[in-house]
Symmetry: C2
Subunit: 423 residues, 2 copies
């Protein structure tokens, strides 16, 4: 295995994890580490502070450095720094999902031009091996479907809401207290983090450039204890699902939103901060990869895995791991959420009038929606009733029209939630 | 990607699957296929019978062939044929777990000498990517534990016994009628197939040569409907588990036997013919890979995945995928089953005497065994009672001594089963 000199950009949880684990690999020499604050106290034994710099360009311009490991995150200044590194002929290993989702096409094209490679196993699913397997051992497959739990924070919150019947706010607060959620949880709970990962995963799975701006995205903030409870009673768990499908017409249906997942489905059984990726393809059929989606050590496994494979290949050839080179020429034609087909869960508050079930049924029927289950649970104190409907597979635009008609009806007081269902 | 000429040895289910899927890869040319019976009717459209030969040496001696795909199985004549292929400088892709488990060391050493590589993703877990990921993207890890369901036939039988409360014989018969089990099911139900796969998987996971002859092996033929039912009542499912552990003293504990798996454990939820491999390592933590463990198409995914990665690498270098080369110098020190530690399930038939629970408790205590659960379910017509015990972690040799003492006691009529437990 080739000796490699590396520079690490970012020395937070993941950077420190990578640093620690790398100590046991003799062929990897850490030349320099770029940090924001050079004076911050580091909790590392016998750490040599001379390794640190607050100028990342010291790394990317250092001719001794072969590989840049970027674990800082964000677009600025990471994008410019990595472009400079590529310009200087350095291979890149990054965990930066936002950067790859938003600027991946540009970076990959530039890397091809400069004959360096960008590896990013850690950007999707933390420690779960998914990027390298799709690009290597699974490359005989035409992947048709992705369904994945890609964010530990939201899965933790939904698990606690399910197990302990907590409200969203209480579960979020507990996740924050335990360090599973950030003070500003937006990136996780609104599904941005999941969408970045899905953009990367669907691009390499379908071999077409997926536009992050066209990925439909809903977070988990509107999930109520009532939704979780109703889902449970109907045999489902609610999960934030990253979904991608290659349709028969060649278009791509790719989106992030909470779903009711049938409790027999293996994804329904993935709890707490664990991540899981299901791929369906031909000829392999269904595969599910489950593991820790975040954390210093699992992420270090992926970063260093990329690095060691690269070191091993560079021993023999200047064109390492040709399968891993991203070269997507085709742009995915992404369909609008209104054109997708799903089974649905609709939760409404209705007036306690005898005809209300009939009204819901009539509105659904008029809009080509077949109801598979309808559940009314008693009468509220204010003489309203909570009704939950599960539909058969329907078109999203039909559902949206039906919801409008329901809202316009005297008998329906409120549409509490609309969720999609995975059986 | 390099153009490769290949020869396929074996044209049964898997060979035919590989042949079909390969039609869509323009860079792979099938030069010749070796079969047992050249006159057998093949259910393939427009198949050119001239591709067939009943002499595999025609392939391995053909200078036009770059890669031999061996999907025939068994030791003889596969071993001699593959040795000749390696001698002639051909790379090997094989799904032959028995051959690798029994003769892998010799084949890998010879391949290293002749500078060819042997790839075998399909030998373990069918379509599940596990061999290549362990050797590449997971290579930063020290793997400490394997727990896997590696045989679809036995998992199917155990699933049906659990779901439909069938006896072993009835479930086996149904599996045979559906083609999930062979007429002579020994290789599957006695755990041989699982043990071959475990020998391969544990060798690459622990990076030490594991001796197939020293893998403790028990099949599923002694599992009764009573065991399945008792396990269910106690919150477990029974699975045939391939287990491997790297102990703190550097020794290896590696074995195949049925286990009661806590129903919350993800492996307990893997049903029917699906396979699943759990790996625990540092720094990655726990990973679980689930998918189809057999079948023409999933197996073809792995065989062709190996082939395409090889083709891609050979474009750049004569030393392809150096990480995939097997070079295990150390021999694993495998411990005896008597020296292993487990939680146990003990099922006994006892006489209906008032002191029998006390006698079981006393014998266990004397042998350093703590009981965590004891369950007696009514009295049989012949005035005996079925008693089920779950122990805390105990040494296997202590358990065996306790069972001998129980059998010697007047009050215990029979030891019905002893199974190990995974919580």
């Amino acid at each position: 295995m080739k000796n490699l000199n590396i520079g690490i950009i970012g020395f937070g949880t993941v950077g420190t994890g990578v640093f620690k684990v790398l100590q046991s690999f003799g062929n990897i020499h850490i030349e320099k580490i770029a940090v924001k604050n050079i004076n911050k106290k580091r909790e590392l034994e016998n750490f040599n502070n001379d390794l640190l710099t607050d100028n990342a360009y010291e790394l990317v311009n250092n001719p001794n450095i072969d590989v840049i490991i970027e674990v800082a995150g964000g677009i600025n200044p990471a994008f410019d720094i990595l472009k400079a590194a590529i310009e200087n002929g350095k291979h890149i290993i990054t965990a930066n999902k936002e950067l790859l989702a938003k600027k991946g096409n540009e970076l990959f094209a530039f890397a091809r031009e400069k004959k360096v490679i960008i590896l990013y196993e850690a950007a999707v699913g933390g420690g779960i091996p998914i990027i390298m397997p799709i690009k290597t051992i699974l490359c005989a497959n035409k992947i048709k479907k992705i369904a994945a739990i890609l964010n530990g924070t939201t899965n933790y919150i939904l698990t606690k809401m399910t197990e302990k019947e907590l409200s969203y706010d209480t579960a979020l607060k507990q996740a924050q207290d335990l360090g599973y959620a950030e003070t500003d949880p937006t990136g996780d709970v609104e599904g941005f983090d999941t969408a970045y990962k899905l953009a990367i995963l669907s691009t390499i799975s379908f071999n077409k450039k997926v536009d992050i701006n066209k990925i439909y995205r809903e977070g988990i903030t509107k999930i109520t204890a009532h939704d979780i409870k109703s889902a449970k009673e109907l045999g489902y768990r609610i999960k934030l699902i990253a979904m991608g499908q290659l349709l028969d017409n060649g278009k791509i249906d790719v989106r992030v939103h909470p779903m009711l997942v049938a409790k027999k489905h293996l994804l329904a059984k993935v709890n707490n901060a664990t991540n899981s990726v299901m791929l369906s393809g031909y000829p392999v059929g269904d595969l599910i990869f489950t593991g820790a989606g975040a954390g210093a050590e699992p992420t270090a496994s992926s970063v260093i895995g990329d690095l060691l494979v690269l070191a091993s290949e560079l021993e023999n050839t200047d064109n390492p791991i040709p399968q891993a080179v991203c070269n997507h020429t085709e742009t995915a034609e992404q369909i609008d959420i209104g054109d997708t087909y799903n089974d649905y869960y609709i939760s409404v508050t209705a007036g306690n009038s005898p005809g209300v079930i009939g009204i819901i049924g009539t509105i659904c029927g008029k809009n080509n929606i077949n109801i598979s289950t309808i559940m009314q649970k008693g009468i509220n104190n204010d003489n309203t009733a909570e009704i939950v409907v599960i539909t058969e597979t329907s078109k999203e635009s039909d559902i949206q029209n039906a919801l409008k008609e329901m809202l316009a009806s005297e008998s329906i007081k409120n549409i509490n939630n609309l969720l999609r269902v995975m059986n």
